[in-house]
């Protein structure tokens, strides 16, 4: 069991209020991702749940039990740090066994659990090495191994993949998702990479300046963003925003159109523009088109070749135009 509930949690460092007031309900077995720009308080929120920081006010409950003032060890949560935080002088085996040893688990059981974790994570042949003799991905797996042997109520990950190269990241992403399907334990995962957020999460919490902007499933956030911030944050490349008269035609303060929801033509369309930059990725081409209302990004298939100065016409998909009021809320 591992349901986590935050009610009116507030955190200030001295005079600086990092988290004004957050309430969240995370269900048992859910994979929840915290995303948001750098410095928005993702790590702080995670550390509050872990017990590594004290809440200034508000309550944190684990399985209905108030743990607001409980020390980290009592909460039964496991954390995987961005820098892995392995113990450098211990072998991989001792690293993984450390939480069990601290819990005074019998040696036979420790051996069994460590072997199981090592097999699950493909670490069996590295058990006697020191962490410094491992690659980044292997270290990450050791850190995860150290977390899973404890059979925690929930796993907390703080940007665990940000130190890995792109290919390894994709691999580890899949491994963590698989692990979640296998263990069915609650996981909270902090990242600022929205691809990780979209692909891994059951539900995503979008944070901005310590506030929850929206909490919902990835597709919900993509299809029905609650406000301009979420609309701009979820989706890659970013949504195009148009203010002024053109937005007024749709009875909105501003409108947003995703690059993938704009049709491109060389002869006719709603808006005319000139290609500024063309980014070719092979599978897709992203065109940055200069129009009367600024630079718009358009996504087309990879066979289209345009160069700087080409005249094009753009037509937004009328069903996929997002409208926002003056305060940035979706209409």
């Amino acid at each position: 069991m591992g349901s986590i509930s935050l009610s009116h949690v507030n955190k200030s460092f001295g005079d600086v209020q990092v988290i004004p007031d957050i309430s969240l309900e995370i269900n048992d077995g859910e994979f929840v991702v915290f995303v948001g720009p750098s410095g928005c308080g993702k790590s702080t929120l995670l550390r509050l749940i872990a017990g590594l920081e004290d809440t200034t006010s508000g309550h944190i409950r684990l399985d209905g039990q108030d743990v607001t003032d409980a020390p980290p060890a009592r909460r039964g949560l496991a954390m995987v740090f961005q820098s892995y935080a392995l113990y450098p002088h211990m072998s991989v085996r001792d690293n993984i066994a450390f939480p069990l040893k601290m819990a005074k688990t019998p040696q036979a059981e420790i051996d069994r659990k460590v072997d199981y974790a090592a097999r699950t994570l493909n670490l069996a042949s590295y058990l006697d090495r020191k962490p410094r003799a491992l690659s980044g991905g292997q270290r990450q797996r050791v850190a995860i191994g150290r977390a899973i042997v404890r059979e925690p109520k929930a796993f907390l990950f703080d940007e665990p993949l940000s130190n890995l190269d792109a290919a390894l990241r994709v691999n580890m992403r899949l491994e963590i998702t698989e692990l979640h399907q296998q263990l069915k334990t609650t996981m909270i995962y902090v990242t600022h990479d929205q691809v990780e957020a979209m692909t891994m999460a059951d539900r995503i919490v979008v944070l901005n300046a310590g506030n929850v902007e929206q909490f919902g499933s990835p597709l919900d956030l993509y299809r029905k963003p609650a406000n301009r911030f979420v609309a701009g944050f979820i989706g890659s490349p970013r949504m195009n925003f148009i203010d002024g008269a053109e937005a007024g035609k749709h009875d909105a303060h501003s409108i947003g159109v995703r690059p993938e929801h704009i049709r491109l033509s060389t002869s006719e369309g709603a808006w005319q523009g000139v290609v500024n930059v063309s980014e070719q990725l092979g599978s897709d081409t992203f065109l940055h088109v200069q129009t009367d209302f600024g630079l718009l990004t358009v996504r087309t298939d990879g066979d289209q070749t345009f160069t700087h100065g080409d005249k094009v016409w753009l037509t937004p998909d009328p069903n996929r135009i997002y409208k926002f009021d003056a305060a940035g809320q979706a209409i």
């Binding site: 060890a73 820098s83 113990y87 939480p99 601290m102 150290r146």
Partner: protein, 290 residues
Amino acid sequence: MATRQTRTLARTMMAPAVIVLFIWMAVPLAMTLWFSFQNYSLINPMMTGFAGWANYVYVIGDPSFTQALLNTLFLVGGVLLITVIGGTFLALLLDQPIWGQGILRILVISPFFVMPPVAALIWKNGFMHPGYGMLGHLWKAFGLQPVDWFNQYPLFSVIVIVAWQWLPFATLILLTALQSLSEEQREAAEMDGANALNRFRYIILPHMARAITIVILIQTIFLLGIFAEIRVTTGGGPGYASTNIAFLVFRTGILSNDIGAGSAGGVIAVIIANIVAIFLMRAVGRNLDA
């Protein structure tokens, strides 16, 4: 990679310093070796010439030599024990966020800036003197007979003074090591359920092992040659109770005016220092390569 040209240049530039240092070391060593095989006593100037092993036999055969050797051992060991354990403890305390941390650290470090003879005098007259020392007053305040430290516990007193002087060094090095421990590692251990004692034992102590090694190595080398503190306080006595090897060389060579035997003692001291250094490098130096 250095090119051949820069390497030649570096050698040429370094040569004067290396040569001077070498002469500074080699000439006195050679002269000491030479004198140690000569009959050379200022009290008996007529007796000269080659002495063979006589000086060595005389020094080693004397019961004071064994005692000085043991005293050296106790002095080095005692001071190391106090400074390493005390230094670790102080470093742990100083690492806590407390008010007035900056001033406190300067206070802790300050004994290191006091010259050895001065430090010894402060202790001799300010603290340990049975008549007007602070400790004497303290004893009297409790209605006890003041202790005459330098007569009753001569070696222990010297150990206390030297430890007081070296504690700041140990504290400083160990504190630096402690501060280089990543916060995330401590937090990970905390999450893993390690209490303060286990965190110290399994995380902090192994992290500080290298720094402790350095403290032991550096201090041993300096502590083998402790002289001023003994000279100022006990004068090596009563009897030979607080005479270490370095002080024995002084007593033989300068106080007894027997340059030959003193030189022999000096050579023995050099040999002992080297044996200790090799032993230490083997025993604890392993911590250094990693």
